[in-house]
Point group: C2
Chain length 155, copies 2
C-alpha cells in the first residue's frame, strides 16, 4: 500500500476521485424508510486502509432527509458544510461545522436539511462490521408522533 491523498476541491465541495453515490437502494417501503436529496461519498474503506472502520461523507440538499432508522452500531458524525438538524431519540439537535454528534446504538435517528439555503454535509464514521438499518417499531414510532417536537419529522 502507498500513501494516498484525496485532494479536496472547495469550489465544488468534492474530493477528487470520490464520486457521489446513491444514499441507499430504493425499495424499502417500511414506514419512515423514505429519503430524499441525499448523496453518499465513501472516503475511507476498511479494506483499503486497512482498518475496522469506514468514513463516509453524506450531503443533503435543502429539503433533503435520510431514512428514519435504528441499528446496533453507533455513528460518530462531524458536520462540515452548511447547517442541518438531527433527530436522535427524542432530541432535535441542530448542527453547524464542526459540531459533532454521537448516535448511540438502537437509537432512532434521521438527518435533515429543513432550512437551507446551503447543502448540509457531514462526515460519518462507523464500524466496518455492522448491522443493517431497521425501521422503528410501533412503540418508537408512536412515541415520536405523540411528541409535538418530533412529530413533524416522523413520516
Amino acid at each position: 500500500m502507498v500513501p494516498r491523498r484525496l485532494q479536496f476541491n472547495l469550489d465544488e465541495f468534492r474530493w477528487d476521485e470520490i464520486a457521489p453515490q446513491v444514499y441507499k437502494a430504493r425499495g424499502d417501503e417500511a414506514r419512515g424508510m423514505d429519503w430524499s436529496g441525499i448523496t453518499r461519498h465513501t472516503l475511507a474503506r476498511a479494506a483499503e486502509l486497512p482498518a475496522g472502520f469506514e468514513m463516509r461523507y453524506f450531503e443533503l440538499e435543502p429539503g433533503g432527509y435520510s431514512s428514519l432508522e435504528k441499528h446496533a452500531h453507533a455513528h460518530f458524525v462531524v458536520a462540515i458544510r452548511g447547517s442541518g438538524r438531527a433527530l436522535i431519540g427524542d432530541q432535535l439537535l441542530d448542527c453547524v461545522p464542526f459540531d459533532s454528534l454521537h448516535v448511540p446504538p438502537m437509537t432512532p435517528h434521521r438527518w435533515l436539511n429543513p432550512d437551507g439555503p446551503d447543502r448540509f454535509g457531514f462526515l460519518c464514521t462507523v464500524d466496518a462490521d455492522r448491522d443493517r438499518p431497521a425501521p422503528l417499531d410501533d412503540a418508537e414510532w408512536e412515541a415520536l408522533r405523540a411528541n409535538p417536537d418530533t412529530a413533524p419529522y416522523t413520516f
Copy 2:
C-alpha cells in the same frame, strides 16, 4: 446511552467539553521521536460510542511537528484547519481543509506545520485496538536522510 452533541466554538476553534491534552508522554528518547507544539483533542472514545474506533483532533502550532514514527495500524486523516504537511513514507503531501490522507500500516510518518501562519488541525481516526508507535529502523532512517526532499524532516 443518550445522544450527545459536542458543540463547536468557531472563534476558539474548540469543542465544548473537550479539553486539549498533551500530544503524548515525554520520555521517548529514540531517534525521531521528539515533538513540539501539538495538542490532542479526543472527540470520540470507543467505549463511549461504543464502537471499534476512536477519533482525535490534533492541532499543530506554526513550527510544530509530531514524532516520526510507524505502527501497524492505519490512520485516516481529514484536515480541517489551516494548512500543513505530511511526510508519509517517502512522500511529502501538503494539505488544506478537507484534504484527506491514508497512512498505510508500518509507513513512517510525521505531521508538520512548517509555514504557518495559522494552526494546522486535522481529524485522525484509528482502530481502538491498536499497537504502540515505534521509531524508524536504521534502513528507514537512512533512506529518508539520503533523499534531499525528505532529509529536512528527518530529525
